[in-house]
């Protein structure tokens, strides 16, 4: 009848590969081909640029509220790039960078943000879920995708994204527990960006890390420097590999920072210091990765600048294109499409009288 220490879980790891100067621990450096590294960098630039445009459009009244991604590009692209196209992408509401990595069309996202349902239509071949606004509610969905993958004998993976605040919701705990119990191929990517609107990470949970929450569910957890795209990529590669091999889920905590507003309806000056933001700007994932690419001789300064320009140019026409698309969209009765596979009679009646002078009480 002893009373002794139990070894209940493997110790938690922290991973960082690239420092702020773009120097690295060579032993940890992943072996990625140059073309992919360049693609990752370019997508980071696109995300940062698109974010800026969305912010301008929002301020100008062209689009509604949205959640900017700036600062979290490495976490999203580092993780997402570890998955294949056939794997599932299950986002929360801030995954602009992951969305672009998946080949998402900025015009679609613009439509979505401008209040058109058509903007979230999922292309036929994409295994991408729509934006999920209710915090943590997408995690159980990813878990179900993973259950189906296993039952159907496939080797795909579901990768789902969420924030530090999301780890407080029941859905987070239920999904992790379910995925752990059935050893499902899910990768849970937590972007700990230090804030859940106005509530700082320390006030969200007494846990020292978020990664350790996986341990309680029998799921390996790892904390990575989320502004170091190589570290995120290595952790995600391992997690994806584990899932594909049938060895169950992983919780990856990316320690990162939300450089901008929570959403455009938010005023962070009410709750956080500009100094803190400035400190994190020094750890900006984009220049850091650029320094690495330059030091490796993958991009020279001129090429890197050129890429910034070409991204600006590429996204320069998005608003005009979105406007053109909006011109082609249907009227109000689009809202009746896709409510059911077949429109029931009462809804058919409502669709008909909608915007007409017909008597409203006609139930058909």
């Amino acid at each position: 009848m002893p009373r002794e220490e139990m070894e209940v879980a493997p110790p938690l790891e922290y991973l960082s590969i690239l420092d702020e100067e773009g120097d690295l621990d060579q032993e940890l450096e992943p072996d990625l081909d140059e073309e992919e590294l360049v693609q990752m960098y370019r997508t980071m630039l696109r995300a940062r640029r698109f974010d800026k445009l969305l912010l301008e459009w929002q301020r100008g009244g062209r689009i509604g509220t949205f959640a900017p991604v700036s600062g979290q590009e490495a976490s999203q692209i580092g993780a997402m790039s570890a998955a294949r196209d056939e794997d599932w992408f299950v986002p929360s509401f801030r995954e602009i960078a992951a969305f672009l990595w998946r080949g998402g069309d900025p015009v679609d996202m613009t439509l979505y943000n401008a209040g058109w349902n058509e903007g979230v239509a999922i292309p036929e071949d994409a295994r991408d879920f729509p934006i999920s606004i209710p915090v943590a509610s997408q995690l159980p969905l990813a878990t179900g995708l993973a259950y189906a993958i296993r039952l159907r004998g496939e080797d795909d993976v579901a990768m789902t994204f969420f924030g530090d605040g999301a780890t407080s919701e029941g859905d987070f705990h239920e999904a992790l527990n379910f995925a752990g119990t059935f050893q499902l191929p899910v990768v849970f990517v937590c972007q700990n960006n230090q804030w859940a609107i106005s509530v700082p990470r320390e006030r969200q949970t007494a846990s020292e890390t978020l990664a350790q929450k996986g341990l309680a569910y029998g799921i390996p957890g790892i904390q990575v420097d989320g502004n170091d795209i190589l570290a995120v990529r290595v952790a995600a590669d391992e997690a994806v590999k584990r899932a594909r091999a049938g060895d169950g889920p992983t919780l990856v905590e990316c320690v990162t920072y939300r450089l901008k507003v929570h959403t455009t309806a938010d005023d962070p000056s009410r709750y956080r210091d500009e100094e803190e933001v400035e400190r994190w700007k020094e750890r900006d994932p984009i220049p850091r990765f650029r320094r690495y690419l330059e030091k490796k001789g993958i991009l020279d300064e001129g090429e890197a600048d050129e890429m910034t320009d070409s991204v600006e140019e590429e996204l320069g026409g998005v608003w005009e294109e979105a406007e053109e698309r909006i011109e082609t969209l249907g009227g109000p009765d689009v809202m009746f499409q896709h409510v059911y596979a077949d429109l029931p009679p009462h809804l058919e009646r409502q669709r008909k009288w909608f915007g007409t002078d017909e008597e409203e009480n006609d139930n058909g």
Partner: protein, 326 residues
């Protein structure tokens, strides 16, 4: 007296009640330092401290469940769901415990608590932020469901909700949060729960409305009075449940015509109950079918089409005309 928006009036009620009664506590996501995403709790944390104005983790189930525990143990919690669309995360707490704790414990543990939530469409909000689900709560025995239609009543209804011995779902039409100002007296004012009011008197048609639909319903009533000499009586429910039906069923005996306006979807919506009450109590006085002027039975569309979804003044007027036929 001061002119206030609904947000300011609600804030005023919270502040006065917290001053009056030390057991009143406020909890929810971002209700502290930032004062709530709509600023309804602005400044309260500075005045009453972090123990009474609690910024919680993002976790609606525990916000509501813990509020019940607090209520049973001597506090008067007012919890906030950041948007009504996230109250579903706490639905099991509301349905299984909050609504029936008094009943389950044979009166031993009542649950005097308020669950506040902004709701409704019309402010270009994100997906899942615009529903009007008063029936979800009104269908649950044991809950009171209150919806103000202007700043002054918002203040006086919230005061009553806080003092009520039973749990109150307090739904705030966010379209009206800053739409207009009203005089709100400094002195205490408490409109009783369970009492509707006649917002406009009339003898030709009885119309029931509440929340964000109330001001536009009254506007249409004024317009057709001026243009056509038709006098519409508008009843503002204020408390959706328990439903105070007498004022509108009696009004129907006078007018012989009735309509209901709501922004919730049509089928199984609140209008069904209102129509049923009229049928039960005043059927023999009706001269025409009752009209329901509502949103269609589809999810609230993204905001580019939300104006088409919400009953607007045109549709309200058409509904009035249909109700007046025969």
């Amino acid at each position: 007296m001061a002119e206030m928006t609904m947000v300011e009036a609600l804030n005023h009620a919270l502040r006065q009640e917290m001053e009056r009664d030390e057991s009143v506590v406020v909890l929810g996501e971002d209700v502290g330092e930032v004062g709530g995403v709509f600023r309804v709790t602005d400044g309260l944390v500075d005045e009453f401290g972090e123990d009474r104005v609690v910024d919680t983790p993002v976790a609606e189930a525990v916000i509501v469940g813990a509020s019940l525990g607090m209520a049973v143990n001597g506090l008067r919690p007012i919890c906030e769901m950041q948007f009504s669309g996230f109250s579903y995360h706490a639905m099991h707490q509301i349905e299984n415990h909050v609504a029936r704790f008094r009943w389950r414990t044979r009166g031993r543990f009542p649950a005097p608590m308020v669950i506040r939530m902004p709701y409704g469409a019309g402010v270009r909000a994100l997906e899942h932020h615009s529903e009007s689900r008063e029936v979800f709560f009104s269908h649950i025995p044991g809950l009171k469901v209150v919806i103000p239609s202007g700043p002054r009543l918002a203040r006086s209804l919230l005061v009553s909700a806080i003092r009520d011995p039973d749990p109150v779902i307090f739904m705030e039409p966010k379209l009206l949060y800053r739409q207009f100002r009203e005089e709100v007296p400094e002195d205490e004012e408490a409109h009783p729960l369970g009492e509707s009011r006649v917002a406009r008197e009339g003898s030709d048609l009885t119309v029931v409305a509440w929340g964000a639909m109330l001001p536009r319903t009254v506007e249409v009533a004024e317009e057709i009075a001026e243009e056509e000499g038709i006098e519409v009586e508008v009843v503002d429910l204020l408390t959706v449940s328990p439903l105070d039906s007498k004022p509108f069923t009696e009004s129907v005996r006078k007018t012989g015509h009735a309509a209901v306006v709501h922004e919730a979807q049509r089928s199984w919506g609140p209008g069904g109950e209102i129509v049923a009450r009229i049928m039960e109590d005043s059927f023999w006085y009706l001269e025409a079918p009752i009209q329901r002027i509502t949103a269609p039975d589809v999810p609230v569309p993204f905001f580019a089409r939300e104006e088409a979804y919400l009953p607007d003044k045109d549709r309200i007027r058409k509904g009035f005309r249909a109700a007046l036929e025969a």
